[in-house]
Amino acid sequence: MGKHRIGEHTIAFPNRPRILSSAAVVGPKEGRGPLSTAFDFVLEDALYGQKSYEQAEHAIFQEACERCLKKANVPKERVQALLGGDLLNQIMAASLAARELSVPFLGLYGACSTMAESLILGSMLVDGGYASPVLCAAGSHYCTAERQYRFPLEYGNQRTMAAQWTVTGTGACLLGDEGNYLARTEMATVGQVVDMGIRDANNMGACMAPAAADTLKRHFLDTGRKPKDYDQIITGDLGRVGSEILTELMEESGFPLRESQYMDCGLCVFDPKDDVHAGASGCGCSASVLSAMILPRLHTGEWKRVLFMATGALLSPTTSQQGETIPGVAHAVVLEGGDEA
């Protein structure tokens, strides 16, 4: 058993790696949402002057990384690792951004849980003294996700009530071991893949909620903490349906979320007036909300300690068409308030 482990699935970061800066770059629809002014940059057009939406996704990813570095005043030559991923096949947006940034790159795929995955691994690298600073990023694009997982953009299709809308955007964080910081990572719980047999790719929330409940329960058992020990428990992109399911599952498991404050990033990206049904999804959802809302509130001391848990539906169109069920995964990171806190 590793010496920094607490319980079966949770690890502690004794040196509390610091989140030095963060940035979020999002599309126009996200820019009209409630977090509008909190994003670092809102695109006027989802194509972002590129030839294809895949190229746009890559450019957005790169833009977020560059803005994040600029805010921490760290030149890219000093970055010792980029940990990141997206939803494209072969995580091409992150890979192409890494090509342009020319930094050591470890590509990640955790579907929409990628931001938490990168924060956990980044914190390990920093805490263990293997690399600092480390750039962690995750992004997605509505237009590339639609064509890869669903239908062409101009195809006339009715969305079901449980369907979610993929966020166009990337969130990036710079982790380091010294200097001013927004927040620190205290511990993390790495989730296991949970599959309760859902096949409906239009109900991602239901695919991911059991994994979220599993990771939360393990976190509380491993750490001996209770929901009330957190000012806010935040899930990535369960959406309206998924977060209602999670609330019920946690009620059954003996760690009711109502003892704390609970929110889902999927419900704070889009304007409720926009017809997005069950909310937002995608790697960029939790990543951009982390940068635009969670870290600033930790920095100002509004929140002292939060549990940030990004959730992913491990879906592939190929296995889905072959009748395979959709497994979910969720990773949780404990974030503590920044300088002033």
Binding site: L153, G156, N157, Q158
Partner: protein, 153 residues
């Protein structure tokens, strides 16, 4: 064995929870919208066929083909300017079931996969959604033809 039974039971319980908490689409509203839009598209088709018959002197079968081609053209145009999917989002099967649904299923991937090139993008992907329609429609008609040749009902 017991473990597997427990697992299946847990899955079934979860399915029920999901079913209870997932909002349902409105059947009545959906059917009403499909009815008037779908019926409307068919009336437009009839009007085009009648016009073809009256002013172009087309025979009945040709007038019907003329109506189909015109509807397909209109669908292609509306898809191109980004309006068709909005209508379809409202009308559901009202635009899917008429020939407009078939046309949109051809036009939209042709546009979507343009960045992958004219041959392997637009050319090949044109049939991704509507291809099965041709495969099953044509195969069924060939089977009907062969049967008819031998049985002649």
């Amino acid at each position: 064995m017991q473990q597997k039974a427990d697992h299946n039971q847990a899955r079934e319980r979860y399915m029920e929870l999901v079913k209870r908490l997932t909002p349902k689409s409105k059947l009545g509203q959906g059917c009403l919208r499909a009815f008037w839009v779908g019926g409307g598209i068919c009336m437009l088709g009839q009007a085009i066929a009648d016009a073809g018959h009256r002013w172009l002197g087309l025979a009945s079968a040709d007038a019907s083909a003329f109506a189909s081609i015109t509807l397909i053209f209109l669908t292609a145009l509306l898809t191109g300017i980004g309006v068709f999917d909005k209508i379809a989002r409202y009308a559901g099967a009202g635009t899917v079931v008429p020939i407009t649904g078939f046309a949109n299923a051809m036009v939209s991937p042709a546009m979507e996969f343009k960045p992958e090139g004219w041959v392997l993008g637009t050319g090949a992907r044109l049939f991704t959604i509507a291809g099965p329609v041709l495969v099953y429609g044509i195969s069924a008609s060939v089977i009907v033809g062969i049967l008819y040749y031998f049985i002649r009902w």
